[in-house]
Amino acid sequence: MTNARTLTIILFIILVAVTLAITVWASRQTRTATDFYAGGRSFSAFQNGMAIGGDYMSAASFLGIAGLIALFGYDGFLYSIGFLVAWLVALLLVAEFLRNAGRYTMADVLAFRMRQRPVRSAAAVSTVTVSIFYLIAQMVGAGSLVALLLGIKTGETFLGMSAATAKVATIILVGALMIIYVVVGGMKGTTYVQIVKAFLLMGGAILMTILVLAAFKFNLSSLLGAAAEKSGKGAAFLEPGLRYGKEVPGDALQTFYNKMDLLSLGIALVLGTAGLPHILIRFYTVPTAKAARRSVLWAIGIIGTFYLLTLALGFGAAALVGGKAITAQDAAGNTAAPQLAQALGNRFLGGDVGGASLLAIIAAVAFATILAVVAGLTLASSSSVAHDFYANVVRRGEATERQEIGVARISAFVIGAVAIVLAIFAQKLNVAFLVALAFAVAASGNLPAILYSLFWKRFTTSGAVAAIYGGLGSAVLLVAFSPVVSSTPTSWFPHADFAWFPLSNPGIISIPVGFLCGWIGTVLSKEAASTDRYAELEVRSLTGAGAH
């Protein structure tokens, strides 16, 4: 274990040094606002496809899904499928239109034919909210993971720090790094960090998958059989139902709620992706809509491949490590993939040294995964604060590029600092659901506003504002009154009970509410939509005329 720890630390230091070097190099190439927000729009479709993968495949995807499959079998796969199918919404309905009609942020398209200030304010609020939820989940995860990956257990010390102190230190370190990537390197630095991460993650996942399959003589059926047998749940391990949509014997109502929760999660996963601001701004980093299309194709290719690999990793961990050993390390199963790496290394790469080495490599990959995602989130929210709120709401479009980028850098610093503090306080809470909540908010507020803007001629300013706040507000409120926050032993407030909303996932209600608010806001508003501006948006979004 000590060898693994030393190697892990060395790899972490190399990773940090390389990414910081990239960031400094990128900062020399960053002069204009287009450089800072959109990486100069100079990335190729392949580069952007990899960066999208690096931006999207979070620790929740890598460690979370592998862990879910390892502990609950098939149900973890439901997440992978939702996360992948979601890309078709982005490809068919959003990516190219947004690239053609927008400039730096999601709100460029939402506010295109609307009154700037209300729509951009709403978009900035929603962008920062979604990004902060997602950030807290990643950073709290990073804290526990690094402590686990370095093998720091409660009662032990590391460089004189207890496990609890080491977690806080990790959160601060991750936060400081993401602030540096964004403030110094802007979109260029962030993009290269994401590309490096995507290669590391794919390399690590492919290597482990080959070893897992080799352990079962490349026979998928025997891998599944071994996983099911070791889980102690038999064939049920390979079927849906152990985690989501559970059937509670004798309680038809709870069974119904559980099934609705599953459907609600499924809807939010598929509709959320195309409304996530940190994903949307990636489409601006390529020169044309055609390149945006090609980058989504690359992204679908690598994300799809990656989720197929996690299937092997999850079932491999179930078969070779076993649920008991995994939950002994981490109750949520987040260490399944690193533990699998150790087991595979022991078996194939020369005993303990091999095990320690592969564990260290996968730990470094997981660290890179977290860094790339938090940098993307920080960039998206600081861009929106600077470009939408400062430049267009506060300064009404009168700010210079220099001032705008200055504000973006300050915002990145402030948002990063706020995220660090919130993550430290949220450490004891169940934060895994925050990723699902971020998807639900994106699907409920942002997606309706984007789709109406692009495809509905009559859509107005009031409609856009109503859709964003209605979708965002209903998603957050429903969660506040759900079992996640109160009434159960794992809730934030286990001893209080104000959970009148029975589902943990609000999407099944809040997404229709978002669409409905957009529609009601539009039909009730007194102003008429400008047909000329809609004509311009249509021509721009479909053809790329006048594109930045």
């Binding site: 439901l78 499928i81 068919l92 849906p240 299309r293 194709l297 006048g546």
Partner: protein
């Protein structure tokens, strides 16, 4: 509007939007993306609903330990890759050249177009 306007609209974007060429482009694109979106949404909804409500069916073993649920899930991957490929082929063949032509015309009329 009582009589026909004396001249065509001054805004090159509005003029471009009214051309049959653009109307045709928009119709073609919408005829592809909207039905395709409906198709993959229903196909995905079917998968989620079966996962929630038809567990015996999903648990049916097909070959060895490989059951319907796994095959159904993998088919979602196949359909996603397939639809992405179909869309790219469609857009390359049917959309890009017309879109580029309209873009070039609008940008020449707006004297440079993009900033």
């Amino acid at each position: 509007m009582t009589t026909a306007p004396p001249q065509v609209d001054e805004d090159p974007y509005v003029r471009a939007q009214q051309t049959p060429e653009f109307q045709d482009l928009r119709r073609k694109l919408r005829r592809f993306v909207f039905p395709m979106t409906a198709a993959f949404s229903l196909w995905y909804a079917l998968y989620v609903l079966l996962s929630a409500y038809a567990r015996d069916f999903m648990g049916t073993k097909v070959v060895g330990n490989i059951n319907v649920a796994l095959i159904f899930g993998l088919l979602q991957f196949v359909s996603t890759f397939l639809i992405a490929w179909l869309y790219a082929r469609f857009a390359d063949r049917e959309i890009d050249s017309t879109a580029d032509a309209i873009k070039a015309r609008v940008e020449s009329e707006t004297a440079g177009g993009a900033k």
